[in-house]
Amino acid sequence: MSILIIQILNSLFYASVLFLIAAGLSLIFGVMRIVNMAHGTFYAVGAFVTAWLVGRAVALGVPTVWTFLLLPVGAGAVALLGVAIEPLLRPFYRRAEEYQLLVTFGLLLILEDVIRLLWGGLPLSADPVMDLLPSVRIGGLIYPGYNLVVIGIGVVAAIGLWAVIYLTKFGVILRATSQDRRMASALGLNVALVYVSAFAIGCFMAGLGGAIIVPTQTAVLGMGIDALILAFVVVVIGGLGSLQGALVGALIVSFVRTAGIQFFPEIELAVLYLIAALVLLVKPTGLFGTA
């Protein structure tokens, strides 16, 4: 029984991270109609930057308690990276989707190698952050308290994002721009600023996903593309551009993946995509997707 609870908690933990990544991807697509092929790599950058910052902080003798604050810093760094890169994408908003995919794919190649260049392909970890929090007893088993915090962060992020998009003025502006860019511009909205903001938020979320996962697993090369593939299943199942889709998709993918790793470890990715293919047969745009 305790094992079941732990499996469920693991799924929720992973779903939180996946939700952050997928929601970021969906937000960027929803507002800007761009699929950022390098989105998974932004997640990886978040992980590497955070792990590196934690490592430096510990080396400098900073009390471990403060290292927790480095998580949002890592995410913020990725958001800044997004702001720096967005101008590069501007010429492509009005061109055919193929060119956008090609440019962001080029970005993927570049960033993956930049990670290798900066951190030399050695796995980085941020264990100190995880050790900050005490373990919890579940039945006869021990479960890291940090994981529960991550689940909490996921819930807060989902609610927070929903609140921003549906309850704030900024959210209205976002939704207006995503529905009709020209109309929004004609109404006097600074579309360019909206685009940069949306991109920055999306990148922040991907970076945050990387930041919160790196205390529990080392940052390694290739984690970006692995995350991208999983994020793609999430948006294929849940629908691209939908917040509920990202949430539901993340939960489905996470639970299936946990079950898959338990029962058929070699092919859990294949099983995931089999499910995605089945969803697509019935609903070509995903569960909550629009055309």
Binding site: V103, G106, L109, F232, V235, P265, A270, L280
Partner: protein, 335 residues
């Protein structure tokens, strides 16, 4: 009046003549360029075949796939399995058995992917190809995992040519070059007929205007699926030809950056022309060889050049030459 008539017959004859000339040059080159360069040129021709197949989907059908590494890799691994598990050494059997395997994989993946276009199509091809990659890694006791599988020199022309004993390597490279050149010529001819056939015209119509194509009575999904099938099979053939030359196949040829290389070489040459992918494949092979020798971060270089290409030279090298030539022709004509 005369000029118009002549200019209609000219292109076909000129084209054929140019093709024959290029073929003759390619056939004579090994006599002048040495063993290493001949090897490189063989790799180049193989890349050209892969890009040619890829471009049927991109240039002629309008579908951008990020997952063609799957077909190349399946072609390569088929050869390795045939050698290890069935003891087959014949290059012809590799092709005869490997092609249907590549075709089957393309048919299956294509069936899922062509129900979608543009962004979703790109996402699905990338993702599905990585599923294949993950399977190759996970089932390492079958596929040799990250170490890959070794492939010995095959026999050519139904066992007539074997390559053992002294000087075998040199003899193999010399013979294999002509073998690949022949297959390359056949591939180019087949692809040329395909894109100039009614089927090829229909693909281009679907690419240009899907709605109108539907109102012509064309079954869009079916056409796209067949194009996908042919495309994957050509790229699979490239993989089959590649592995005896490389001597080894690893999961690297299934990994997504390799799909990126295929996309890149097609873009480099130009995807709106028939010869673009061929030029791109050849050129890329040389560029990569020298880039990899120069820097460890060659993927970074590839990414930067890709972005520059998309921004500045979207029609590729052949496309840019064609545009420049058209401008010159317009200048020549009296106003």
């Amino acid at each position: 009046m005369m000029r118009a008539d002549v200019s209609r017959a000219e292109p076909k004859l000129l084209l054929f003549g140019a093709a024959v000339l290029v073929l003759v040059v390619l056939a004579l080159l090994p006599l002048y360029i040495g063993l290493y360069q001949t090897q490189l040129l063989t790799y180049g021709l193989i890349a050209a075949i892969a890009a040619l197949g890829f471009n049927l989907l991109l240039g002629y059908t309008g579908l951008l796939s990020f997952g063609h590494s799957a077909f190349f890799g399946i072609g390569a691994y088929s050869v390795a399995f045939l050698l290890r598990d069935a003891g087959i050494h014949s290059m012809e059997l590799y092709i005869l058995i490997g092609l249907p395997i590549a075709a089957l994989t393309s048919a299956l993946l294509g069936y899922v992917c062509v129900r979608h276009t543009r962004i979703f199509f790109g996402i699905l091809t990338l993702a599905l190809s990585q599923v294949v990659y993950s399977l190759a890694l996970k089932f390492f006791w079958i596929t040799g995992g990250t170490d890959g599988l070794r492939v010995a020199r095959p026999t050519l022309l139904a066992g007539m040519f074997t390559f053992t004993g002294g000087g075998a390597f040199q003899r193999f490279i010399d013979a294999y070059y002509y073998y690949v050149l022949a297959v390359f010529a056949i591939c180019v001819a087949i692809m040329w007929v395909i894109v100039h056939s009614p089927f090829g015209k229909a693909l281009q119509a679907i690419r240009d205007n899907e709605t109108r194509a539907a109102f012509l009575g064309l079954r869009i999904r079916r056409f796209r699926w067949v194009a996908f099938l042919i495309s994957g099979t050509f790229t699979g053939l490239a993989g089959i030809l590649w592995v005896p030359l490389n001597g080894l196949t690893t999961p690297e040829v299934l990994y997504w950056p390799f799909s990126g290389e295929i996309v890149f070489m097609t873009l480099l040459g130009g995807f709106r022309n028939f010869t673009g992918p061929i030029v791109g494949g050849l050129l890329f092979t040389y560029l990569k060889t020298y880039a990899v020798a120069t820097t460890e971060y060659w993927q970074l270089l590839l990414g930067v050049v890709l972005v520059l290409l998309v921004m500045l030279l979207p029609t590729g090298i052949v496309g840019a030459i064609a545009t420049a030539a058209a401008k010159l022709r317009r200048k020549e004509k009296p106003a």
